[in-house]
């Protein structure tokens, strides 16, 4: 199971890399979103995918699953959610003022 997950993570990273390297801002942002999903899966996989009981001492008997990766992922999801939302707004504003969504044209030059 772990190896399948890792391959999936690899595919997602490849897709995200392709998107991030494109010239369109929206594609880049989608790329970062996919990148964050890839790493969430990676965290889950690294915490090892075992089946076990809920880690509540009073409610279940061992063996327990490790709840920590899920807590980490939840935190990471919240953060990536906030960042993605902010980047979308920022990209929208940049598009509004610079009148282009092409990163090649957004490069700018040194003599400004």
């Amino acid at each position: 199971m772990e190896s399948v997950m890792v391959i999936l993570v690899g595919v997602l990273v490849a897709v995200a890399t392709y998107l991030i390297l494109s010239r369109n801002i929206i594609r880049v942002i989608l790329g970062t979103a996919i990148l964050s999903h890839a790493v969430h899966l990676l965290i889950l996989t690294m915490g090892s995918l075992k089946q076990g009981n809920v880690p509540l001492l009073s409610d279940s008997e061992g063996p327990y699953t490790d709840a920590l990766p899920q807590a980490l992922i939840l935190t990471a999801i919240v953060i990536s959610f906030a960042v993605t939302a902010f980047v979308l707004v920022l990209a929208f504003r940049t598009y509004g003022t610079n009148k282009t969504d092409d990163l090649q044209e957004l490069r700018g030059n040194a003599d400004e």
Binding site: T32, S36, M46, T75, V87, L90, R93, L106
Partner: protein, 495 residues
């Protein structure tokens, strides 16, 4: 247990939120944010003295003992940086009062500055590597907003790049965390250190440490500084000064923690790589600083030189060099803030950014001119100012460790700093004055006040070395011997 340890992070957050409700009362916002910074300075000073007298403090959130819970650890290194960061922020706030403008102030400028401080202080104090990630993100989100706030064309363009690069860097941080968790099964920094030492830091762990090196290098501007000049030159002066003083320093703090606490066992590999990176950073920074034509470029490349120099201290890695790195880190925060505020003031006074187009400022503004000169001397490392002690300690460490290449490049960089900053001083401050008396833009009291405050800190860090040295020694002792940190954090007899 000491609940006071959370104060440097939680007080700014709560104040930031309260300021949201005072959106239209700009005056009130200023007063409250300044008082908050004052309170944090007092608290962190108190904590610093406590830590020096009673050893490392820790605070387990909601009582979960390490390694299970999240915790804050206050050692001398972290608290020194919290103290200096808070002082620098207070100075930048004072500068912002008279320059930032109503539009920014109504867009929650002070709230975001306080959130930035909360993130920075949290990053310094945390003892849990995932919590470090969270604090980094708090800091970065605030910095994203600050860099883009009130943006024109160029500012929005540069901030978009800044944000995207940092998003990818944060992603790599998570990748490194995932591998680390898979390899050692814990996130508590002290516990990681124990587990890594038990495993003898095998190649897998060393590789993971190198992923961390890449992440923190991106944040600190060590070798991977390509994003830095663009994004540090677009925001308003007070924000740029805050960034120059705080953001790269947090990255450096993380690097020092990672390679002294968690992965100190393979210095041949990790510390050599850091040394090589530091040398290349210094060379590139020197080229940029000496070749730059406008003041902002020169100032940003000076930030890069500072990063390279501190990382030389980490690469050498003996007690003296680490003491020097800690001292220089504190000095660099204050002096870089002073430099950026001076540069911003020059642009404000003349409306020019090219060095050649300014001239004779010292005739119009003598005090300002000499304050700039003071900052210059401190950055170059002229005794008795603050830069000198750090440089001497790192130099002694290099000689003791036999790292002569690092020594030579490090001190060459001082010459580059001297050349680049002195060029600004000679060209822009001396010579024919270009500003007629009638056209003189008056310097507001607040601007001068913040410069004087920072200059006083620079002088105190130099002359008051006697008072500061015990704290720096305590900080370096923990860095050299991680077992002090581990003993303080991990409960005895509980693996």
């Amino acid at each position: 247990m000491s609940n006071l340890l959370i104060a440097p992070m939680i007080i700014p957050i709560m104040t930031a939120i309260i300021l949201v409700f005072l959106r239209d009362n700009v005056r009130m916002q200023r007063v409250i944010s300044l008082i908050t910074m004052g309170v944090i300075i007092l608290i962190s000073g108190f904590l610093l003295v406590e830590v020096k007298n009673n050893g490392i403090m820790r605070l387990d959130f909601s009582g979960w003992l390490p390694p299970f819970g999240i915790l804050f650890v206050g050692d001398a290194f972290a608290l020194l940086l919290v103290l200096v960061a808070s002082i620098v922020t207070a100075a930048c706030l004072i500068y912002a009062f008279s320059t930032i403008g109503e539009a920014h102030e109504k867009m929650f400028f002070y709230s975001f500055v306080l959130l930035l401080v909360a993130g920075v202080n949290g990053s310094f104090l945390t003892g849990d590597i995932f919590n470090l990630f969270v604090c980094f993100e708090v800091m970065l989100l605030a910095s994203y907003v600050l860099v883009a706030l009130g943006g024109g064309k160029r500012q929005l363009r540069e901030s978009l790049k800044y944000v995207l690069i940092n998003v990818v860097a944060s992603w790599m941080f998570l990748v490194a965390l995932a591998y680390l968790y898979g390899a050692v099964g814990t996130l508590n920094m002290a516990h990681i250190s124990m587990r890594v030492a038990e495993a003898g830091q095998d190649p897998v762990l060393t590789t993971i440490s190198l992923v961390f090196l890449i992440v923190f290098s991106l944040k600190a501007g060590l070798l991977l500084f390509f994003w830095l000049p663009g994004s540090y030159s677009v925001p308003p002066t007070s924000v740029a000064a805050l960034f120059a003083a705080l953001l790269t320093k947090v990255g450096m703090y993380a690097l020092i923690r990672t390679f002294t606490l968690m992965f100190p066992n393979q210095p041949d590999i990790t510390h050599t790589i850091i040394g090589v990176m530091a040398v290349i950073t210094l060379l590139a920074g020197m080229a940029g600083a000496m070749g730059g034509r406008d003041v902002k470029t020169i100032a940003t490349y000076n930030v890069i030189i500072g990063v390279g120099f501190i990382m030389i201290g980490l690469a050498i890695g003996n007690e003296q060099a680490l003491m020097g790195a800690v001292y220089y880190l504190m000095h660099d925060m204050v002096a870089k803030a002073l430099l950026f505020l001076c540069i911003g003031m020059m642009v404000y006074l003349t409306g020019e950014t090219i060095v050649k187009n300014m001239s004779g400022l010292i005739r119009n503004y003598p005090l300002f001119g000499w304050l700039y000169f003071l900052g210059l001397c401190a950055l170059v490392g002229i005794p008795p100012l603050s830069g000198f002690i750090g440089k001497v300690l790192i130099g002694q460490g290099a000689i003791a460790g036999g790292d002569y290449i690092l020594l030579i490049v490090g001190f060459l960089s001082s010459i580059a700093v001297l050349y680049s900053l002195l060029r600004i001083f000679l060209a822009s401050f001396f010579g024919e004055t270009i500003i007629v008396m009638e056209d003189e833009v008056p310097i507001r009291k607040g601007m001068m006040g913040s410069l004087v405050l920072l200059a006083a800190c620079v002088i105190f860090l130099g002359l008051g070395a006697n008072y500061i040295m015990p704290f720096v020694e305590a900080a370096a002792a923990v860095l050299v011997d991680p077992s002090i940190y581990i003993d303080a954090v991990m409960p005895q007899g509980n693996e």
